[in-house]
Assembly symmetry: D2
């Protein structure tokens, strides 16, 4: 499945809803589940759909296999209608399938319960230590190091990335991220894939000048990263992504290719990240986990810098394009 969070504007205000992107459009999964249950003569289709396939991604993820199962069955039911040339409509006349122009895509998981960002691509890490004139630490090869990101300021595709007033060195970072879809502790690598709800593209925006000061104090990146992180456009489930270690990754600025890489160059695997995080600690659905920047995947490595007004497009094969325009706060348009 290609899961997403989309927004519709109605006379009752703007509403964000869980969706699935299919050939025929974007399915409103919660309402479609109610419609699907009603066709099976369920007495309270909306009440059940609200629990089985909730209308927001975080609650959906908390439903684990049960919610995923009902989502798949719902998509299949809708797809059968679409294939037969019929446009299904909800019992209360709600739209079940939208066309792209009718909705706005938001971050697939706008409210992750945490964000932990690894540092898993050797080329990027090496370049960083090289730039600082320090040797590559042997500890990097011993543990999959990570820092905790700002999980409260997530934006999605097409949203503007604010340029904070405290930086002169605004940078992008090209990463692949995944979301936890199952509660667990002390998970073995062989089972770890079952704990991944899906993959998405992540742009870990960074204020390099602020970050440089913070790195000197040795607590890792903090204010230099917290104000904004972008993910999207969709969350692609593991069955649909296939091999997650052979996906082309690119970053373009104003249409020009700046960064290029492949998930295959990752040193610490997603399975190892999950094993490490879950050691004597429970992981939960809705946790967002970043890979760290792919080699060449940021302006710092290239010594090229985005300017206010630039458009940054990160793309990962099979997931799509995460596009954000960078704007100075003063220019920020109302969300």
């Amino acid at each position: 499945m290609k899961l997403c969070t989309f927004e519709v504007k109605t006379t009752l205000g703007r509403h964000r809803r869980l969706g699935a992107v299919v050939e025929g459009g974007i399915i409103d999964l919660n309402f479609a589940c109610a419609w699907h249950l009603a066709r099976k003569r369920e007495a309270r289709p909306y009440t059940l759909a609200d629990v089985l396939v909730p209308d927001n991604m975080l609650e959906y993820l908390r439903g684990e296999e049960t919610s995923a199962g009902f989502a798949r069955a719902t998509i299949q039911s809708v797809q059968e209608e679409l294939n037969a040339g019929r446009q299904p409509t909800g019992l209360r006349e709600e739209t079940l399938v939208y066309q792209p122009g009718e909705i706005t895509m938001r971050a697939p998981l706008p409210d992750p319960v945490s964000l932990r960002d690894f540092y898993a691509f050797e080329a990027h890490v090496k370049k960083g230590f090289e730039k600082r004139g320090e040797p590559m630490p042997e500890e990097w090869y011993q543990i999959p190091a990570y820092y905790k990101g700002g999980h409260q300021n997530i934006i999605g595709p097409e949203e503007e990335a604010p340029w904070p007033s405290f930086t002169e060195k605004f940078d992008y970072e090209l990463e692949i991220a995944f979301v936890i879809g199952k509660t667990g502790e002390n998970i073995k690598p062989a089972q770890a894939r079952n704990y991944i709800a899906g993959f998405t593209v992540m742009n870990d925006f960074t204020a390099r000048d602020m970050q440089r000061k913070e790195m000197k104090v040795r607590l890792g990146p903090a204010k230099g990263k917290d104000w904004c992180t972008a993910i999207g456009p969709v969350l692609v489930t593991t069955d649909e992504i296939g091999d997650p270690y052979d996906l082309r990754m690119t970053a373009k600025v104003n249409g020009e290719l700046w960064s290029e890489g492949n998930t295959g160059s990752i040193f610490w695997k997603f399975e190892q990240m999950i094993e490490f995080l879950s050691r004597d600690e429970t992981i939960h659905p809705g946790e967002l986990i970043g890979s760290g920047t792919v080699g060449t995947g940021c302006g710092l490595e290239l010594d090229r810098w985005v300017k206010p007004g630039d458009v940054v497009e990160l793309e990962i094969e099979k997931i799509g394009v995460l596009r954000n325009r960078v704007v100075k706060n003063a220019e920020r348009s109302s969300a």
Copy 2:
């Protein structure tokens, strides 16, 4: 107010509820608010109380001044009854005032929306750099540096602190913490105090051997801290704490005094932390913010180490004692 989260065991299971500690006991603020509203002939006292003074701390904090105002009025109503020698009881016969032995104190805010931990005591920071044989970075004096803690594994007073299997060097850290109680952005220091809901004691448990590796990789503390942080016993509101810069802080292990300090030795003030965090970024009720360790406030500084089974007691004047026994996982008693 001395706000807390307490737990009661009933035939309907264990329930956590927002409380206020007063002379006569612990008030169940949500039910007491319903009782208070009913006395004012409100038609739906429980429905309103659930919104005005919710039964959990996080939702209560989100009510900002409105919830705080109703909490104060409720406490006053109950106090008047207690002063008159009467024991008030809820409309549905629920207990409004508990005695300490009838409840278990939990972390006052068991589910903070984030945890950011500063590094604000100069003595502690100096000692750390000294131990690593590095000079004190000038950047420490330029910005109030912080790292992001593990906000998902908060324990409270009297709960056991699990000793993770991956460490041989378990340490405590004596900190004062505060909780954000008001939404804001770009807050000036002069207004910052209004954004603090209250203060509490924090024990930022650390696996020193794991942390040492992580520090080498330069992303700051992560797995070495994430598995557990303790706060409590209560959250003391700013009006009740008085001057937050003259509070004695101590740590005892098995009753023996190991650490001793005073909040007055802090370099970066709470107001400056808020100013820094809120620069071009919104802060929200329910964010937990630590001061960093006070000078001498951890075993690492003293080169003394806690062992499994030890009891660590952190105390801050006007707040109380945060007491946790350290246990190896295998011995962990069911919560």
Copy 3:
């Protein structure tokens, strides 16, 4: 206030909402309350509005004076904007003031918790006993008699009234109804007006042939009435209705005046009904209470009969017109 329940169609389905009819349009009271609270810098305006001025009439009525007070303050805030030539909009861009063509009016209280219908107009009762060849019972003058109506099949203005297959004698009944707005027991007539949330028009549709059989069995009207009762178009609060005992009442069929009366001809007053109902029994917000048919207020009295397709319009001064087309089931259009 002229309170109503209106329906809007959106891409998220049809939604019913509590409204207030003012000169400038129909105010969405729940969203307008949130907007009003946000202007007063309330931290959680939507959460509070959902409890203070809920989006449906029944829950609103249960809020008694508190909800009414916030509804009035909300209307005043909106009115000030409208008077100043500004069109207020909600924080989430929701519409706060609709024009009549944008919404559909539904029964002001679509789900009363009960329906009790009195028999309070002497002229109508006398005519009924006369038709049956029985003397007027002296008991009618001793107690305000009522029967319990079908509270589960309420329709509103502009909705179609279904003609059930089991009748050949479909009739309308012109009544004034009121809704209880306050919980009480053993209420004295002098206080009774405080328990009335407002007045509306009621059409107590009747299948006369079925009813005749039921009356013979002596249990009063049942299946001859249960399938459908209409109320509307609005619920006018007591302060706005003024003297409820001088309101002209008319019934028109296909535009032709059939019935004409005045609330002043009522024998048993609304206050006496409330006193009687509340004797040793609690009455609750959301109870719907009918006056019984005004003299000449039904086809039976006139020996004139509506036919499928006819339009029945009941009008009461200061409340408005309740208009329903009568349709055979087969012709019923989808609601």
Copy 4:
């Protein structure tokens, strides 16, 4: 199943919950369902249980076959534990199986959405017309007549029946009642049994002097019945009741047998009642439907009268005893 509503007193107040009576005690169906789902490794057992087997009877009934199916599976899971000598406990340490002394039985459906009471036993009806000196109406044989009862004042077993101040002639009425468990319209008798959730005992208390006046006015019983109706002790599902037309019915006052009958003497069958009610009208889960008094089943027929303080026990085979003490209001103990 023998479904019930029971009440427990806790420090968090009195709570009413859906139960099932089995040999080993009374099962808390909602919590037991959560436990049952947790054993099947469901991610959110409480969230799902709240929808699949809600904690109150009305919501449970609205779940129709889905809820009934999960209730049966839950009971079987608990029963297996009990049979194996184990006492199951909820995940949050809540009690799953109570012993009778630990709880209070309430009306199985304390808040029916409506109450319609038929007049289906010929012997009782004949006696009534005979007493009034009127001939038995032929219409009684043509339609299953009913009146609408007071669905808002339902009491349960062991609760006190208040004697209203307006009557000198307090009477009991021995009836069998059933509850609708499925939404439907125009239901044929052959299918009608599927729409019955279960059977219970009903005591349709009557103020005979008030009723006599009301009958004279010809609208049927109203204030003479509305203040109180008792049902219980349990709701027995159709599969467990077996043949509903051969159940012994008795009424005892202070232990003395006053009334005796059998459901087999009913003239209008439950299936015919459902057919009649559902003609061109939707019936809903949670509607309570009475049979009318069985022959000899009230004091009026016997010219014997209960006095304040008397205990009335109605018993129907396979359902149990509905026992209520009659009290003058002044003596009413707090509920």
